[in-house]
Amino acid sequence: MREVVRVGAGGTGRAGIRAVSGGATADVLIEARGLAKHFAVRGGTFGVAKKAVVHAVDGIDLAIRKGETLGLVGESGCGKSTAGRLLLRLIEPTAGAILHEGVDLTTLGRRAMRERRKNMQIIFQDPFGSLNPRMTVESIIGEAYAIHRIGATHERSRRVGEMLDLVGLPRSAAGKHPHEFSGGQRQRIGIARALALHPAFVVCDEAVSALDVSVQAQIINLMQDLQRDLGLTYLFISHNLAVVRHISTRIAVMYLGRIVEVAAADALFEHPTHPYTRALLSAVPITHPREERHRHELSGDVPSPLAIPAGCRFAPRCPFAQARCREQDPALSAFGDGRAVACHLAADGTLPPSQPVVRRAAPNSIQEIAR
């Protein structure tokens, strides 16, 4: 029933890209091919033992299409933040390629890379930690113009003013320092800084995670407005699955340095396929006390990225694991509906069907009441 296209294993698969990105590559803005980052760490007490290698990102293939929001989810240590930084080449990959408008970023020299970065920016989680407390808002936002030698001083001031308008801050904010603002306002400053050079691609790394819910909603709405008005493409990295579902076009799920499933946001929540995706989504707190949920409990903890299990890395915790799962590393295989899953059982159709993540028992929803 399912048409399965076998593609290369993560880390080696150049052939699989087309299938994973779900068709024509023309609309792809940025793409990772076999992208990996291994960190060498010293082992043992006081770092005396021989070096160990953390496989933070271990061969991912991921294509982000123009104008979409690709949600990247996973638990701490799965490599999602590292993946975001790799795509911008803020850290150097150990292996693999990053294709941006047909150019492999890993081949660019410093100057050419800096020129490219005008097009690709990042918004961080902690708007306090990422804003220099001794700089005024004007110099924080305007720093990008100075670095790239854009415009004279008065021209830069005018542009900063426009950026403040764009993110809904008063022009009077320009002369103030970060500590004079609330968390939500600081995140607006962080967004203004990221958008100062009119990038097409923005990595949002836990951009709303530190905010209170009422403020979080303001920032999410702002980011969606900006995306619509400026035609932005987002990679939205977050551990908050409800937020990711709200904002994303498609969602990629990471586990221990690999992407285990990619699907349209609705499809992922209606029918999570990979056993890890099922467990992850079923653990999200319900949003109404009368919601019923089929919990897929996970035993144990995520293995250390220092000692990645052989075969499928999820096999030791997977309720469906078979002998072959502990031996062969499953490739990310594309399915007919644009979904891609890295699971032997999903690929040959023997994985038991999944159930929708939440089922509302009560007829009325929060939104109906609140309106």
Binding site: V243, R245, L298, R360, I366
Partner: protein, 336 residues
């Protein structure tokens, strides 16, 4: 849940900065918590929810003091007892777990030593008995191979395991009241689900009262029987968990619920609340939510609304429900 004997009764609790009594942090907080009940305390940062927990535990920092109010634990008013008496109750009748277990556990002591210490001091067990009991406690919090885990240091355990150890320590003296302050906020979502399940089943087995503080309405929906919504140090609403989600009455509760992204249905835009939570020393006159409220009236900026019952189990501090009926304020302590 009502009708059970009250484990904790808080009445008219007000705290303020030590040097500026007019700058209240918590103001006139009253509620009761029965045995076997799970009360969720929800609020954003600055709502005073952690302050409330520390006040009940008698662990306020020196810069903050209690200016009025009663805290009755099993009938004894702790607010009138000595700090020694208060300390005696901590870890015996009431215990607390925090967001980050790594900062609560001693990093240079084995986990077992820390659990056994509580058992020897609070329950006067011998070394052998406390060791046996420590293994039993780790079994109760579902830690595999407990005897081996007792020898571990905190850093050798995962975040979820450390929180289980904290729960084991909290349970060591069979408390009647467990206060959990954001117990799963630092944990991944799959681990959070395990810890919430564990807390719920332990609470059912022991019949203890559980006061769970969180900013996450999802956690409230998962575990709470009743909810108290705090805003800027005041109680905005108390209700059963179903009532709060089905028919929130306070404009703040309504806006808060509408601002969370929902897994069940995708919407184009989230509802927002303009502005930000006011800070201590800059509290608005009248209703503290008034400057951000879409239902604001003239009366709101004049005086603070009292928490009054909409129904026997549902209290709300908002004048819009009582504008035409000048009802008497709800008796303190009975507001549920």
């Amino acid at each position: 849940m009502s009708g059970t004997s009250a484990v904790l009764e808080v009445e008219g609790l007000t705290t303020a900065l030590r040097n500026q009594a007019q700058d209240t942090i918590l103001e006139d907080v009253s509620f009761t918590l029965g045995a076997g009940e799970v009360l969720g305390i929800v609020g954003e940062s600055g709502s005073g929810k952690s302050m409330l927990a520390l006040t009940i535990m008698g662990l306020l920092p020196s810069s903050i003091r209690r200016t009025s109010g009663a805290i009755r634990l099993l009938g004894t008013n702790l607010a009138q007892s000595t700090s020694e008496a208060w300390r005696e109750r901590r870890g015996r009748d009431m215990a607390m777990i925090f967001q980050e277990p790594m900062t609560s556990l001693n990093p240079v002591m084995r986990v077992g030593t820390q659990i056994e210490e509580v058992l020897r001091r609070r329950r006067r067990l011998s070394n052998a008995e406390s060791h046996r009991k420590a293994i039993e406690l780790l079994e109760r919090v579902e830690i595999p191979s407990p005897a081996r885990r007792l020898l571990a240091y905190p850093h050798e355990l995962s975040g979820g395991m450390r929180q289980r150890v904290m729960i084991a320590i909290a349970l060591a003296a069979d408390p009647k009241l467990l206060i959990a302050d954001e117990p799963t906020t630092a944990l991944d979502v799959t681990i959070q689900a395990q810890i919430l399940d564990l807390l719920r089943s332990l609470q059912r087995d022991t019949g203890m009262a559980l006061m769970l503080i969180t900013h996450d309405l999802g956690v409230i929906a998962e575990i709470a029987d009743r909810v108290m919504v705090l805003y800027a140090g005041r109680v905005a609403e108390t209700a059963s968990v179903a009532t709060l989600f089905d028919a929130p009455a306070h404009p703040y509760s309504q806006a808060l619920l509408a601002s969370i992204p929902n897994l069940a249905s995708q919407r184009d835009r989230l509802a927002t609340i303009d502005g930000a939570v006011p800070t201590v020393g800059a509290m608005p006159v009248g209703c503290r939510f008034a400057p951000r409220c879409v239902d604001r009236r003239d009366a709101c900026v004049v005086s603070s609304p009292q928490l009054r019952p909409l129904s026997p189990q549902h209290g709300v501090a908002c004048v819009k429900w009582f504008a035409s009926v000048p009802a008497a304020p709800v008796a303190q302590g009975s507001a549920r």
